[in-house]
């Protein structure tokens, strides 16, 4: 029947797979690290804006279009938590802020959401990482995280 080496390798493979799945579940449930949240579409998300809910709680309604992000520059203080909502007005675009592992697709007729906490000051670039036509390589915006005193 089954070769003894085969049996051993099956057990090792199974254990490694379980370890991976456990890690994913731990990150998801305990550390709250997850893929973007999908929201039912609503036309109001097509209006780009930054909403200040609280001194360190912001909502950014980001809209991607050929070949720019609106709003193009977002300013928030250090320590703020920002909800990003994202949609596209035309073709598919990407929305990548790699320092914060933010990675979303902007799709016509779809709304994506993710939440980011900015603990350190700096300029965080948002790069379009899906081909969207001849101007694709120029499509970038930024989040500027200041010290509260400089506001």
């Amino acid at each position: 029947m089954i070769d003894k080496f085969e049996r051993r390798v099956l057990i090792i493979t199974g254990s490694v797979a379980m370890l991976f799945i456990f890690s994913i579940l731990y990150a998801k449930n305990s550390r709250r690290i997850d893929v973007p949240e999908c929201l039912p579409y609503n036309k109001s998300y097509e209006e780009p804006k930054v909403v200040k809910l609280d001194s360190n709680l912001y909502q950014v309604y980001a809209v991607a279009q050929m070949w720019q992000f609106q709003p193009a520059e977002i300013q928030v203080p250090v320590g703020s938590t920002v909800d990003f909502f994202l949609t596209s007005k035309d073709v598919v675009h990407g929305f990548e802020m790699y320092e914060k592992n933010v990675n979303m697709m902007a799709v016509y007729g779809g709304v994506n959401k993710t939440t980011v906490k900015f603990d350190r000051p700096g300029v965080y670039k948002i790069t379009c990482h899906e081909y969207c036509g001849i101007g694709h390589q120029n499509m970038q915006s930024e989040v500027i995280v200041n010290y509260p005193s400089s506001k």
Binding site: L86, V91, Y131
Partner: protein, 557 residues
């Protein structure tokens, strides 16, 4: 065995046409690394735009080459193992559909009317001929399945108690996966996109199109891979000088691919709106499932190679690695296959990263992704395809290999090139370098406001790898066409090395019949994809009009 003239010609055309187009495909692979490294800051070079060339690179290398080869290799495998040839008219029909489709798509891409990349995501619009060409190519590649399935049932009637040959099982599994997954993309192309691009319908549901595309898109990668797997299981152990460690392991691996190749497509859409987290998580787990047959394969092949090393007189735990025929120029298939396997170790590990749910946030659509899949599709898949193409061509025509020593070095040079290239891309991806972007125009242009110097070393590394890969490609073309036009003749036959099994179990009905597996396949696909389609229908907003790549105004001509 001897093939009929007709089938021999079909196979030869199916090898020569894509290998010729591959010259253009590889040329633009090299050009991309040059644009991206910032060595040039242009939107086009030699009348070929970056994104137009990127579309050609993807369509030729990943769709045309792979589909034509899978059909050619399938014809050869079925004819060789079942000793029966497919129906002549049907085989020619399949070839003509594929050729016409390829020409239509090639015209639209070369004339600059279809710079939408090989994933053709709407609402970017291509010329209707692009969609029509893609559909004809797909439909043409379906046709042989029915022919082969008929030959198999005939064979089964006269051999009720014999295990079907492993290569036949692999071929039929592969084309069944292909037929089922392409149903979705054929629907997307023919029902949603073609009328929309002709102006007969006004808009298209973008999320639904993308979901249908990825129902096809991940199974596509197994369609690329399984011909290589068939060679690994049924040819590699023989050319290494040993036996296949376990015949049953091969059967289980192929049937697991049948079950799990398709219901995992949503792992390409983790970053996407309109699909709920639960649906994504479930398909992430199924994607771990589809790693299982590859783990089985890794073990079985390593064990087979170890056995071959011992047969060649190796001693010690790792001695077998030194005894294998790495540079045997008479036995060059071994070189092509072992280099592919080495790349696939890294391709497999990075693939598990991609399927790991949250980790997708780190790598999605960054340069990491092409770094990963050049170690799969440009690794085992590509090397198996070009190695077997030259083998089939030289055997069917009875030609001696031109420059056999160069021929056996090509895969090693390619291996080194891909390792450097993919290291550059994956390193870049981890620090945010986007894929599918003409970086030299902005991010890698020191005089541009978006200049991003962190990506200088990563893109330079990728270019260095690209130059080595292109050199290997050039040498391959010299050997291939040198052999084709050579005057040195041997006898013309079709013969594959035939592997026997070390552990050869008795026939078990369950592992020698398609029915139970096809039923399970349908059930798993429904469980995985019904929720995905419901999510998309429930959450999607309005459908989108057409957009051209050079114009933000909707509906522009």
């Amino acid at each position: 065995m001897q093939l009929s003239r007709s089938l021999r010609n079909i196979i030869l055309i199916e090898l020569l046409l894509p290998i010729t187009l591959l010259i253009l495909g590889i040329y633009h692979g090299l050009m991309q690394t040059i644009y991206r490294s910032g060595a040039i800051h242009q939107s086009s070079a030699a009348h070929l735009d970056y994104y137009q060339g990127l579309t050609l690179h993807g369509v030729i290398n990943a769709i045309v080459l792979t589909s034509f080869f899978a059909v050619a290799f399938g014809h050869a495998t079925i004819a060789f193992h079942l000793k029966k040839e497919p129906n002549k008219a049907v085989a020619w029909l399949s070839l003509w559909l594929m050729v016409v489709g390829t020409l239509l798509a090639a015209w639209s891409m070369l004339s600059g009317n279809a710079s939408v990349l090989y994933t053709f995501y709407p609402p970017l619009k291509a010329h209707p001929f692009f969609y029509l060409g893609a559909a004809l190519l797909l439909v043409g590649s379906w046709v042989p399945l029915f022919n082969w399935a008929y030959l198999y049932t005939q064979w089964r009637k006269s051999n009720p108690e014999t295990k079907m040959p492993l290569a036949v099982l692999g071929t039929l599994v592969n084309f069944t996966i292909w037929f089922v997954c392409t149903l979705a993309v054929a629907y997307e192309v023919l029902v949603l996109l073609l009328p929309w691009s002709m102006g007969w319908t006004n808009d298209v549901n973008v999320s639904l199109s993308r979901t249908l595309f990825w129902f096809f898109g991940h199974a596509l990668v197994y369609f690329w891979l399984l011909p290589a797997y068939i060679m690994y299981y049924t040819i590699l152990p023989k050319v290494a000088g040993g036996k296949l460690f376990s015949d049953l392991a091969g059967r289980i691996a192929f049937f697991l691919f049948l079950l799990l190749s398709i219901p995992v497509g949503v792992h390409h859409q983790f970053s996407e709106p309109n699909i709920q987290r639960g649906t994504k998580f479930f398909q992430s787990m199924l994607t771990f499932g589809v790693a299982v047959p590859s783990f089985i394969t890794a073990f079985t092949l390593a064990a087979s190679l170890e056995y071959a090393g011992w047969k060649r007189g190796a001693k010690g735990v790792f001695g077998w690695m030194k005894k294998l025929p790495y540079l045997d120029k008479e036995n060059y298939l071994f070189a092509y296959m072992i280099c592919g396997l080495i790349l696939f170790v890294f391709g497999g590990f990075t693939g598990i990263v991609n399927s790991s749910y949250q980790l997708n946030n780190v790598v999605h659509n960054t340069a990491w992704l092409p770094g990963h899949f050049h170690m799969t599709v440009a690794g085992p898949v590509f090397l198996a395809i070009i190695g077997m193409s030259i083998y089939l061509m030289s055997n069917l025509l009875g030609k001696k290999i031109f420059l056999p020593r160069i021929n056996v070095i090509v895969p090693y040079l390619w291996l080194v090139g891909v390792l450097i290239f993919s290291t550059g891309l994956m390193w870049g991806g981890l620090i945010g370098e986007p894929r599918r972007t003409n970086l030299g125009m902005s991010y890698l242009n020191p005089s541009h406001p978006l200049y991003h110097p962190q990506w200088v070393p990563t893109t330079l590394l990728a270019m260095a790898g690209g130059i080595i890969m292109t050199t290997a490609g050039l040498l391959y073309f010299i050997v291939f066409f040198g052999t084709l036009f050579s005057r040195k003749r041997t006898s013309a036959t079709l013969d594959f090395p035939v592997t026997t099994a070390y552990h050869d179990e008795k026939r078990m009905g369950f592992f020698d019949s398609f029915k139970p597996w096809l039923v399970m396949m349908v059930v798993i696909i429904l469980i995985a994809y019904v929720p995905a389609v419901i999510d998309v229908m429930k959450n999607s907003g309005p459908s989108a009009p057409t957009f051209l790549p050079n114009n933000p105004t909707p509906g522009s001509k």
